[in-house]
Symmetry: C2
Subunit: 346 residues, 2 copies
């Protein structure tokens, strides 16, 4: 292999961060692995697409999107190809699924991934919908077509959870997972504990660019439930969907609850817990809990945290700090590198 | 490759745990990777050795050592081969360096590793001495001889630090490392904060089997300095030795110091800090520090913790819990698996 041709579906925060990291490391990748990574297509829903088999200029693509909010239809590489057009017809090696999430259906991302895998193309998904709703089908499809299917970014951005477990916890059985997986609710609860009104917290979060206009997917616990599902499917072979998670959001939590917890030396956190029981059944739960102030989960600076309980390696905890967009881009990037490493090895 | 022939130098806590894990996973390794892992030699300093090219019975070896504190010289596989005899003359694929540590010289472990690498044999070291004192020489020697040289166990036992960074943080630059790396001093400081007399703490630690009769390597900060050196050499390409670490132990810390810190909302911890500065120079420091009680470093249950500061992935923190001996055995085990994965790929 001398080239890795990449198709990007979506060019939002993670996509632009991926482009920046790839641009920065392209020559070093070529030097160390002998592979010239080229992005041959970038699609968006309503902002135009770019297509060029010789490889797109990622700096120029980023400039267009940042300056005018869309790709320039006078550009020689401008294209009207849709995401599905690209998935089905373009000659790429790996597709990056970065389209907007529909947390209740996983569409259209699942369709993109399914079509790519059927063609024997490798898939990197930053979109957690397909993983939460169709994990086993897609994993089996990837295996049957001898294709890579990686998704590090879906939980804790680029923090190595899935790649770490696949590489560094081989032959371990994971029977319990716990953590704080949703950054938005963690932020809201932290600010509420400082007696800041909820309307003010939401405004600051939106202005800071890290909170959706409609944060209900976060506050109702759906985002956390989807992430817990992905973890349980990938690490515990749980074969579940988010609707099977026992889910309570933070909407009912009041400043009074938080202050009452404080008098008991506790902090309220939206905890995620997945477990395989002695009889083989699995259960997943997302709910606000009082955790002791002395616990790592209460670290004010952390964005997300996960603990894995293994048979051979005991308990392992990983913490994510910062909300740098580069971390989501890095998750997509390292999965792409892993595709290269897998191809080189095969 | 159909077989991986393993030579074990040393059969202490990590060695016996490795044997147990290998025994438990042997058939699954064969099933998934097609490799029959056999231990062909086990050496000790003064408790006899075992040697059998057909593969030793690890359950029987463990039984002998546990029941009589030595290998049975009536056993058909009993041998008088020394570690260096095995390293130089036996037909193995990978050698596991598990001999006792000399923290000031790295000997004789460094000699074992050097000889094995010169023969083009793969090396897994749980011994941090060679890594702390001769990292670059040994790494270069491994490269020149196309041999693997892995050492996950040297820092935080099997907690994936080196393998994780190699696999999951590719193309990241690490310019700062901080953490608590020595479990013994962390335990001592924690108990001191509960007003338990130092003599009582040491007695309980020795009886619990996790503290040396002479804990001065821990309390003077040498163990932490050696571990910080290994981290800085492997992750920051620092090319330093433990004597270059600015090192202060915990011997001067009194219960009064700990209580005074407590009144300021702080906890005293033996912190390790390594950094690459803007001018390219690196510095390493091990010293007691007051850290805020709200910090993750103060979690009462943790054994060790490390934070890596990267350019592309921000800050990443990993925590080790429990002092299960299985974790050290797992570190040696996963390095052995990584040797298999590397050979399969080559």
């Amino acid at each position: 292999m001398k080239q890795l041709k990449v198709a990007m579906l979506g060019f939002g925060i993670a996509g632009k961060a991926f482009a920046r990291i790839l641009n920065q490391t392209h020559d070093e990748i070529f030097k160390t692995k002998g592979v010239d990574v080229r992005v041959v297509a970038i699609t968006t829903g309503s902002r135009g697409s770019l297509y060029c088999m010789e490889g797109l200029d990622l700096v120029e693509a980023t400039r267009q999107m940042t300056e005018s909010g869309k790709f320039d239809n006078n550009s020689p590489t401008f294209s009207s190809l849709s995401s599905m057009d690209v998935v089905k017809n373009v000659d790429y090696d790996v597709v990056l699924e970065l389209t907007p999430l529909n947390i209740f259906t996983g569409l259209p991302a699942t369709d993109h991934i399914r079509e790519a895998l059927k063609r024997g193309k490798h898939v990197v998904s930053a979109n957690k919908g397909p993983l939460a709703w169709h994990y086993r089908e897609l994993k089996d499809l990837a295996k049957a077509n001898n294709a890579c299917f990686f998704f590090e970014t879906t939980v804790m951005a680029g923090t190595p959870v899935f790649n770490m477990a696949d590489n560094c916890l081989q032959f371990c059985k994971i029977d319990k997972i716990e953590g704080i997986l949703n950054a938005t609710t963690n932020y809201i609860l932290k600010k509420m504990s400082k007696d800041i009104p909820i309307s003010e917290i939401m405004r600051a979060g939106r202005e800071g660019g890290f909170m959706e206009a409609d944060a209900s997917m976060d506050t109702e616990g759906w985002d956390a439930a989807a992430k817990l599902t992905v973890l349980m499917n990938a690490l515990m072979d749980a074969d579940i969907t988010p609707d099977l998670i026992d889910r309570t959001g933070i909407n009912e939590i009041t400043t009074e609850d938080i202050n009452a917890a404080k008098t008991r030396g506790n902090v309220i956190k939206l905890m995620c817990r997945g477990e395989r029981h002695a009889d083989g059944t699995v259960t997943g739960k997302v709910a606000p809990e009082e955790v002791p102030e002395s616990d790592v989960f209460t670290d004010e600076k952390l964005v997300a945290v996960v603990s894995l309980y293994t048979d051979l390696m005991g308990k392992l905890t990983m913490m994510q700090y910062g909300l740098e967009t580069t971390q989501a881009g890095y998750g997509v990037f390292i999965d792409t590198i892993r595709v290269i490493d897998t191809i080189i090895c095969d």
